[in-house]
Symmetry: C2
Subunit: 449 residues, 2 copies
Amino acid sequence: MPARRRRKGMALVAEPARTTTRLVTTRQRVVVVGGGFGGLEAVKALRRLPVDVTLIDRNNYHLFQPLTYQVSTAALSPDDIAEPLRAIFRGDRNVRVLMGEVDQLDLERRLVTLRPGIDGLEEETVPYDTLVVATGSSYSYFGHDEWRPLALEVKTLDSALRVRSRILAAFESAELAEDEDARSRWLTFMVVGAGPTGVEMAGQIAELARDTLPGDFRAIDPSAGRVLLVEAAGRILPAFPEALSERARRALDDLGVTSLAGHTVIDVDPQSVQVRRPDGESERIACRTVVWAAGVEASPLARVLAEASASEVDRAGRVTVEPDLTLPGRPEVLAIGDMARLRGGALPGLAPVARQQGRYAGRLIGDRLAKRPTPPFRYRDRGNLATIGRARAVADLHRLRLTGFPAWAIWLVVHLVYLVGFENRAVVLVRWAYNFFTHGRGGRLITHT
Amino acid sequence: MPARRRRKGMALVAEPARTTTRLVTTRQRVVVVGGGFGGLEAVKALRRLPVDVTLIDRNNYHLFQPLTYQVSTAALSPDDIAEPLRAIFRGDRNVRVLMGEVDQLDLERRLVTLRPGIDGLEEETVPYDTLVVATGSSYSYFGHDEWRPLALEVKTLDSALRVRSRILAAFESAELAEDEDARSRWLTFMVVGAGPTGVEMAGQIAELARDTLPGDFRAIDPSAGRVLLVEAAGRILPAFPEALSERARRALDDLGVTSLAGHTVIDVDPQSVQVRRPDGESERIACRTVVWAAGVEASPLARVLAEASASEVDRAGRVTVEPDLTLPGRPEVLAIGDMARLRGGALPGLAPVARQQGRYAGRLIGDRLAKRPTPPFRYRDRGNLATIGRARAVADLHRLRLTGFPAWAIWLVVHLVYLVGFENRAVVLVRWAYNFFTHGRGGRLITHT
């Protein structure tokens, strides 16, 4: 049976001519689902091994998610922070890339079902010997999914462009508004969740309003816009040391951002948001633009994996994995990144965790081929960065805590280094330099309303 | 009556605080509809005059249309070739920008009706003393509007991104195709219309397939893709001298583009295009991707203008204007650019014509204020450029005809100079340099399927 399965699912091998020949391969087939940080690093670790790798993603590109908020605030362009997966692996003949959704997994028969992302193409089943699932997470509305269509997110390129258009359109609407009330509603922006993304987003909206847009309008003063940053925890950036949280709060305050720590969102409608204040009283805040950057909800595949194995999901929907990132009782299936929870100690949902787990997955598969044991996964925490705006950031490097320009410089270098693609790096550097010196933001285009 | 109208429509004047005060102005109110090349130059000429200018566009940006085809072939990013209108005129306090559609004009009462581009905002009427209409043109399907949804266009940013996604998705589909027939259908691309845009588009698809994509796929060879360029006239680039047409044809041939001059499209369906060959026989060509770059159809406002004046429209729907670009019997209304036809001699639908007419409109209005006469509009034809691909172009500078690298260098400099915005120029230069040296195209993202 395994032999027959193997023959059915042999890798496609390219020939110089136009025809395709399906060859029988006896190499191990590894399927990686998800081309985010985890999946990308896994495939990079696997490409030098004698295995056939299939990387499946719903998009044809890897998105450098930590900078999507800059697309939503018109500082960067979608093309700058995404790189085609095929381009990344073009030189690796043992890696093939397929574009499609995966929502069915057959762990019994070791099959992944792929729904192609293009209309009119048929479903395809892809067999595996080893499966790495790295499909990430989305924001959580804490049981209030009815708020999802009212709020904006900076998760995908498409949603980031929608945020951009909505923020810019809010200023346009304010310019045309009939009365002071409507105008102030359009000029109030709320960001929910004060982790690094929320803090960065709030800072960028404030800079857009204060530094970029003044002069553009005739009836309104964009810098009179209000930016509110709502956080349920007692302080913003709760994962950072308290002193850095406070520095970040002050830096945001300088930019005109009001931090509302200890506030919980209890209702969202198209015209306002209701929050519960730390004193227990509730307050309704009139605002037309809400950006959601709170909570984490693992990809639905986490539950599929848990149900097909002896594992379980936690409150955030993450599947519990063994210390070697495999599913309990399914050593041939690994789950990594935001969608997985290490048995014995959850790790934060950060890019470095996903990247290190991706590399570990590749190493584990290589060790198994070489019949070497692999020590359990260990996360090497190199620190935490959050930027607030131009020359304003906080960096927690454990032994070293930085704020202001030095932290911002580190943030900048780290993001440029990790960004994929030479063209992307060069273009981002040009845009950042332009923005630094002129406060200009070339991407102020309303395209997704 | 005119005084009352004037009071109703006074300009909005900004104050440093949040409130808006509507002030009475006795300055002449000029409304410019359309922020393309014509409208932009008109406002630039008007901003130094003692008039109040309102610029209305359906988008919040000026699009540098001659490079949209590079967005559709992943060489440039949407943000690179568009500049916010508000940013262009931020320093000109007598210019206000409104975002919205105009489809009603009341020439009798001198009112423009604006439908805001943002949901939930109410219609607004904007009064004028002088009106400049510059709403351009779209492609013409020669009475076959049923082909429009089947074909792709590179006119707007949104349509350019759709072309990009569809071209890239065609390669993805070919990679997954079940049989040779389906594969070849996905790998055949047809461009209809061999003016500069069609030629540039065909050349870029060929370069994408031959130079950028090989190595990216495993089951197909992208360079085996076919690009067909269909032109009803007897040769491609019919507006160029015959020798340059022939040089362009040969350059396209080198890139693998098949030029089908003297061919007319007689039917389009989702799987194929039927053409009539020069010998009178018809042929059905299997192809899934058709890019339309043929014919010109003036903006519907041209007909509105003709019907409200003593003017008429020509076969392309353009309104006939006097030698000073005004409507017959309506000296306070000007129509410029692609949507207008000069009485006594039509001009080509090119950016330089629109730009010169925009400047002329500004000059005419200034002369009237100064009670100076203005000589009739005269087009200064500085020549014609078309690029075919990397270091391949043709330039007809009348006294000088260039091909190859020199023509391409001129094309490149001219486009960089006319592109609006310093950041755009810097980024486009980086992307072109990167593409020139590596054949890379960073924008290979499927985002609009």
